[in-house]
């Protein structure tokens, strides 16, 4: 069984290699090769899962060291895999949702001439993500961590001829690199602290390291998580990342890659448990981001960006839960899985809508689509109910637990966190209802297709001409089937997981679990959640359901405009980093040219000038030469006499 773990990574990697190096020959079959590779790794995942279930709780962990990667002195990095319940959960999520999205992309990317490469990148992503969750040490995790970053870069910038896509891809990679810097320094610190960075020894000995070092490692890991999971202050790339094709947004920027930060924090639980300050930082980041993302989500008219804000916010919930320590870890992961289902479903639904509407993304130009796209409407609707936490659906179970756990943190902190989580739930209900109403209800506000130059527009395939009115139609089966499966997951997963606390028992051997001492009872929390849910929905209804929606967005008040601009995050980055950086590089280029080079050229010029002067002494007059001869002789004689006198 151990040997199978490696194949889990190898299969999609080979798929990527074949697709990317195969050349045009594979154009016709490439997408099926890619989908097959994804499905095969899912099957392997299921086999391993079945095998794992056959063993009891404590013996479920599998480990396999494949080869010694970098052995230098006391520094030993191995390529080794570790498959425990936590990794298993991720493996199933990644390969399962991944396979569905591969299938969906077969239809979605049908008209793209570079479809083979798209599937190559998707397979590359799967391989890197699986490596990330299966690695048994932090350095190998880092390889997967940057690998998913690369795949994300390639996929966001997939439509490279659009400058906006290329810029967004670069931005995503750069912001992630800032986070990666945190991770790599954290690994170095682990190495100097423990002499190793394998999960086992580091986490077992974490308590011996002293709080200072643990806090430092924890904060650095948090920085890494912020980058990858789009948490404040490194969140700014996620909105732009929506430039990528929609299946990419569903798989990478909603269901899997962006949750890697939560995985990292949960995996490093032992470190955070020993560093309360780092934990406080984690919950703060989570709470701030869940509100931040939710507010941004309310203001966006672009359906994908609204969903991106929502992703940010939901991951904020997970980070918040993960920061609570063992009270929260299982719920963070549970919400991660359910979120994987419903958010992927929502994105695929959005993709289906865009597919039908000439790649229009502005929700104000949708409306009334429920009659034209019944399957999309139902699956999107179920995802919507799940995310707002409608009783009985997935989101209800997972989010409710997080809010409970936040209150259970205790003290003022608990009230603040719980309050933030509740407020977030209300805003979630509001913006998701808004999305739902704008897209599927109300009047038709369709407009002729945007011209391809317009920023933010996905390129129109040849079949769809410019300036034509959209003809909404249901998407082909290859796209709707994944949506239906994901919708089923959004409905059922939460309930199944909560049956007899199944999920909790499953994860407990890895993450541990302890019951918090909540100042409020579970029933009170549930009631409060339902009340805020109702308030949020009602507000959205009052604003967007009762009265007609203008096609162009009203200018809005100052807070609305700020929210539309992603709460000024890009402006701040622009002023502080971009402008500052530009000035710095420009002045350095100048300094290099004038000062550093100038010193050297100046020396050369000085030598040249001096020799110019000296040259004049050689005037060709015999008498002046004679003077210098006499002078020289006199000096020599004087020197000799002087030496003798001394």
């Amino acid at each position: 069984m151990e040997n199978l773990i490696g194949t889990l990574v190898l299969v999609p990697l080979l798929g990527a290699g074949v697709l990317l190096c195969g050349g045009r020959r594979l154009d016709r079959a490439g997408h099926w090769i890619g989908t097959f590779a994804a499905a095969l790794s899912f099957v392997i995942g299921v086999v391993l899962f079945a095998d794992m279930l056959g063993r009891s709780g404590e013996d479920r962990e599998l480990a396999a060291t494949v080869f010694s990667w970098v052995p230098v002195g006391g520094f030993r990095a191995d390529v080794g895999f570790q498959l425990d319940q936590l990794s298993m959960t991720f493996v199933l999520l990644i390969t399962g949702v991944g396979s569905l999205i591969h299938l969906y992309s077969v239809g979605y990317m049908a008209h793209d001439e570079r479809r083979r490469r798209f599937f190559g990148y998707l397979n590359l992503f799967l391989a890197a993500m699986l490596l990330l969750v299966l690695a048994d040490n932090y350095l190998l995790l880092y390889v997967g961590w940057e690998g998913v970053g690369l795949a994300s870069y390639l996929l966001i910038g997939f439509w490279q001829h659009k400058p906006s896509a290329a810029t967004a891809a670069k931005k995503a990679f750069l912001v992630n690199r800032v986070g990666d810097m945190g991770l790599s320094i954290a690994i170095m610190l682990m190495f100097t602290t423990f002499g190793t960075f394998a999960f086992g020894p580091v986490l077992e000995n974490a308590d011996k390291a002293g709080e200072g070092r643990l806090t430092a490692i924890g904060l650095l890991l948090l920085l890494a998580a912020c980058g990858k999971s789009a948490q404040v202050p490194l969140q700014s790339w996620l909105g732009d990342a929506m430039e990528g094709p929609t299946p990419v947004s569903a798989l990478i920027h909603a269901a899997t890659m962006v949750t890697a930060g939560v995985y990292l924090i949960t995996r490093s639980g032992a470190i955070f448990d020993g560093a309360p300050d780092a934990q406080t930082a984690v919950v703060t980041v989570g709470a701030v981001t869940l509100l931040f993302g939710a507010i941004v989500g309310c203001a966006k008219d672009d359906i994908k960006k609204a969903l991106a804000g929502s992703t940010m916010s939901q991951i904020g919930y997970m980070v918040l839960a993960a920061g609570l320590g063992p009270i929260g870890y299982p719920f963070a992961i549970m919400h991660l899985v359910t979120h994987g289902f419903f958010k992927a479903g929502l994105f695929l639904g959005a993709g289906s809508v865009m597919h039908a509407m000439n790649d229009e993304v502005d929700m104000r130009r949708y409306g009334g689509l429920r009659r034209y796209m019944p399957i999309t409407f139902v699956t999107f609707g179920l995802g919507y109910l799940a995310i707002i936490g409608f009783p009985g659906l997935s989101g209800f179970f997972s989010k409710d637990k997080i809010i409970e756990a936040a209150f259970a943190k205790g003290g003022t902190e608990g009230w603040i966190l719980g309050g933030a989580a509740l407020l977030g739930a209300a805003i979630t209900a509001y913006y998701m209802t808004r999305v739902m109403l704008l897209t599927f209800f109300g009047e038709k506000r369709w407009q002729p297709a945007p011209s391809p130059e317009e920023p933010g527009a996905e390129p129109a395939a040849e079949t769809r001409g410019e300036g034509r009115m959209p003809h909404p139609h249901e998407s082909p089966k290859v796209m709707t089937i994944p949506m239906i499966v994901l919708a089923a997951g959004s409905v059922l997963a939460g309930g199944l997981f909560s049956l007899n606390d199944a999920f909790l028992t499953w994860l407990e051997p890895v993450t541990g679990h302890e019951e918090g001492h909540s100042p409020v009872t579970a029933v009170q929390v549930t009631t409060a959640t339902l009340v805020v849910l109702f308030v949020g929905v009602a507000l959205a209804w009052a604003q967007y359901g009762r009265r007609p929606v203008p096609v162009t967005a009203p200018p809005g008040s100052l807070p609305v405009r700020i929210a539309r601009r992603d709460l000024l995050q890009d402006d701040i980055n622009h002023i502080v980093l971009v402008r500052g950086g530009e000035h710095l590089t420009r002045s350095l280029v100048y300094v290099d040219h004038t000062l550093v080079d100038g010193v050297v050229n100046g020396t050369a010029a000085a030598v040249g000038g001096l020799s110019g002067r000296m040259r004049r002494l050689q005037n060709g007059f015999a008498r002046s030469y004679a003077v210098s001869m006499f002078g020289g002789a006199a000096v020599l004689i004087a020197a000799t006499l002087l030496m003798r006198a001394v």
Partner: protein, 99 residues
């Protein structure tokens, strides 16, 4: 007579010769001044020979005279050639040492 007086005379002659080399322009005169300097040296050599009571200085004086004779042959030939081609024996006109 005290032989040191001869040394003073030699120094005086040498200085006269050196000054002549430096300030005169006519190549012939400069040439004669060089001869004067050489002979001042000869005088000093001979004096030293006398003072130290050995013949080294006198031998060197002979060498100097041979060299001076050779120099006169080559030097005068050059000066005459320059005078023929440039119609002047002024050293300042011959700034040709400079590139």
């Amino acid at each position: 007579m005290n032989p040191v007086n001869y040394l003073y005379l030699a120094a005086l002659l040498f200085t006269i010769g050196a000054t002549g080399v430096l300030i005169r322009r006519n190549a012939i005169v400069i040439f004669m001044c060089v001869e004067l300097m050489l002979n001042a040296c000869n005088l000093a050599f001979v004096t030293f020979s006398r003072m130290h009571g050995n013949l080294d200085g006198q031998i060197i004086a002979f060498f100097t005279m041979v060299v001076a004779a050779a120099e006169v042959v080559v030097g005068l030939a050059i000066i005459v050639t320059i005078f023929r081609s440039r119609h002047s024996a002024s050293v300042d006109d011959a700034g040709l040492l400079k590139l």
